[in-house]
Subunit: 359 residues, 2 copies
Amino acid sequence: MALNDSALLAAAHRRQGDRLPIWFMRQAGRSLPEYRALRQGISMLDSCARPDLVTEITLQPVRRHAVDAAIFYSDIMVPLKAIGVDLEIVGGVGPVIAAPITRVADLDTLRPLEPADVGYVSEAVAAIVAELGDRPLIGFAGAPFTLASYLIEGGPSKDYAKTKSLMIAQPELWLDLCSRLADISAAFLTVQVQAGASAVQLFDSWAGSLSAADYAGFVQPHSAAVLRRVGELGVPRIHFGVGTSELLPLMGAAGADVVGVDWRLPLAEASRRIGPDFAVQGNLDPALLTAPWPVLAERVRDVIRSGAHAPGHIFNLGHGVPPTTDPDVLTRIVELVHTEGPEIRAEAGALADVTSGRA
Amino acid sequence: MALNDSALLAAAHRRQGDRLPIWFMRQAGRSLPEYRALRQGISMLDSCARPDLVTEITLQPVRRHAVDAAIFYSDIMVPLKAIGVDLEIVGGVGPVIAAPITRVADLDTLRPLEPADVGYVSEAVAAIVAELGDRPLIGFAGAPFTLASYLIEGGPSKDYAKTKSLMIAQPELWLDLCSRLADISAAFLTVQVQAGASAVQLFDSWAGSLSAADYAGFVQPHSAAVLRRVGELGVPRIHFGVGTSELLPLMGAAGADVVGVDWRLPLAEASRRIGPDFAVQGNLDPALLTAPWPVLAERVRDVIRSGAHAPGHIFNLGHGVPPTTDPDVLTRIVELVHTEGPEIRAEAGALADVTSGRA
């Protein structure tokens, strides 16, 4: 089977075949004991800069769960670290920035990302792709708003008060900051695609904290700049944020091929909002991964049924795998999606055809 | 002016007069230096059980900001503490439950709340109402889902995994738990209304973590039970949660008179979804309170304009006042809402009449 015929890429292009593709956000990393063993004594950012570790960590969940794609193991702060921003990832906290951005002069550190800054990324991608064969590797980057929120807040935030305040009070500074971040993000994804990634996912994890009007005015143009540049490389683009029920059409229109949906909205309704030109990805509630299997399995089937109403569906969670997840549960979900998926989709899709008069 | 002619109660009954009423969620408490001075060396739960402190803390923001209502100073865990649940409020963390609920036997501690359990509440309400005169006091309680989430998780949670898992895996236990919590919540509000509160707000702070289907199936009936019992007392009921754009019509239908809206959805659109039988409350983004005044003032005006399209509008934030808020900013917002509100509403409303053909 050629890579371009893979279930994931076909679904992303809305040419879904018999197989329902599945992967998990955060499948590479914290939920796997073999990952925790590898990371012993190695910081997050150091691990992201070692091609041998990145390769192994990216491949671990593919081997274990037989998912339909690998997601490049990295951190959204990696390209910023690579251009010299003083930051670290603190365990149990998240990214911590030494000198948060408050004024124009602070932008000087945000120079363009050159491929040579992240040679270890190209090297790791090449090694991963060689191992994966006909299974696609999804490239990974953070979107400008989410990156900006860390740079302005100095770390994770509950309410993004400094970010939003700067955004509306200093629009020129915001524009300059996000333009730089869009360039960096696009360059980081370009490196991954040129080294062999055959799709990308742009994470705007915290965009859901914004109203649609603020998203449209201050955020979407910058995400669109990233997605446009990646689109020129000819790979499908997945775009995701959490709590984005009201933003989904805008996130699609930003230039995605696939819109990731969290668990709050059924995929059928999400697809109706986003429109027929987009595949959807999602959206099992990760909070349900601890539920007893029969109950959980029924929720997996619900997601498959709802996704059958979209023009393309990539099964995923509605957010990242929680660190405490029993990995065997993920393996079981993959098996269910692969064995029961086609039939459930066929039944649900036939029903949808009847209801919509397409039969 | 009689209490029933107050701007807040009139708006709640969709008989809005000239004045646009305003209050702030969390106006009583952490943002005020006079509150922090009073609380020195006194724990949160102890402060809630002292009528002198509760009275003073409830009145502080009314004096300072000239808001149109007081909100009863309490904590959503107070009624649970009052019936003997072993819990404390840990600074910087939130409620911590000694023995989280996992099975039917754990429900034995959740006995009905009797007025005598919270005599200090009746006493404080009476003292507050005597001071307030023609300004209404809003009673305060947590909704069953949010209370259940603390009891099951043992404290605050990011993803409510245990709560959701119990909810779908042990529906009988969930039903029993939420029925008890609905009784407790209704009894707690009844005590406040019978002592003189002339409206209530039921907080389902974390309901926005649920899909509409799960909310409708597992949560709405229990909130409805609370709101029905309070409705029998003849006071208007405000119902609020954060991140609930997709749940607003269900929250209204649960038996609210006023639906609180967070900042993610313009009030006009929220009102369109909820329908003409409900007033709305909200929805300035609290993250913007640190923005420079001219920018913030324009956002306040936007909220007033959008709220003019609803059949009743109580101005508020879209979530609680952040602890770091400069209280002078809140005072200034109240002044703006009172001085400019009527004119902005008249202009926006006239425009709405033209657009909708009602002119």
